[in-house]
Symmetry: C2
Subunit: 145 residues, 2 copies
DNA sequence: TTTTCCTGTAATCGCGTATATTACAGGCAG
DNA sequence: CTGCCTGTAATATACGCGATTACAGGAAAA
């Protein structure tokens, strides 16, 4: 099991948009070229990011730009925007525990809060990492070249 | 995307085994009945838990027992035992970023450590929760009935 | 030792989800 | 107006999860 690549695609997307800057020629085809996936996937992810208010899209001979500064865009924002993990939560609970069994009819109550805590801890870590951190690391790599 | 129910099945399994106790008639069929899944799934999960040294299995007219005390079995132990999340990590990275693009050829380096940190934070939380915590909550629920 | 039940495991099936791909309608910029 | 781009639907393919059947082998109990 893995979290859909839509998440890393979205971060990559934002990084390229920021790198190209205001006047940049960021289109779904250009972005798809850098990321190595189909342009339609990029357009879908772009749609998610737009709904979440992270980017601005203009049509025609366009130009896609960030709506916020890189240090205001957290991994959590992106993760929520692309909706990789559904409402039911990160953990798939087996659905038919036996209510005739003392464990079966209480296992859900006993575990739900604990699973939520685990997921919350992951999401908290995500709130502490921003697009700016990624850009810094990329620029450090580029200097080495 | 969700983490396979093998994880919650495994916890449920351990809870029933502990509840039935040493002389308990815990077999894959009995366990499957409480959990509400196919016995073969239970046997596979049992195999994982056995490899990880969490339970002892004897064949014939059997009896499955815990190898450790409930407060020595953490969620992390179980999660690792059932191998829900593969070696490549929790996040699925898009596989073909373009090396001709300055972002494309550095995005992996820039993100890997960050993704690991997120996963590590989740796993750390898991180390702090044990089977004993689950048993306590279940017993509290049973008292209410 | 024989019987009986249980585990271990392979093979197959159905289903849902991820990603790719094609196609086309609609919108904005030049 | 024209050309390029986005938005989105429809479809195809691949893969993983869980269900199910089937059977070989082993250990306990008689």
């Amino acid at each position: 099991m893995q979290i859909s690549s839509k998440f890393t695609i979205a971060i990559h997307l934002l990084a390229v948009i920021h790198y190209l800057g205001e006047d940049g020629k960021a289109t779904s085809s250009v972005l798809a070229g850098s990321i190595g996936v189909n342009p339609v996937i990029v357009r879908n992810v772009m749609g998610n990011l737009k709904e979440a208010g992270l980017i601005k899209i203009s049509q025609g001979k366009s130009g896609i730009t960030l709506s916020k500064k890189p240090d205001e865009i957290t991994f959590y924002d992106v993760y929520k925007a692309v909706d990789c993990v559904k409402e039911e939560g990160l953990f798939h609970f087996h659905e038919n525990p036996n209510p005739e069994c003392p464990i079966g009819r209480n296992i859900h109550t006993a575990m739900d809060a604990k699973l939520d805590r685990i997921q919350a801890s992951m999401e908290a870590e995500m709130r502490g990492i921003t697009l700016a951190d990624v850009m810094t690391d990329i620029q450090n790599e580029l200097k080495k070249e």
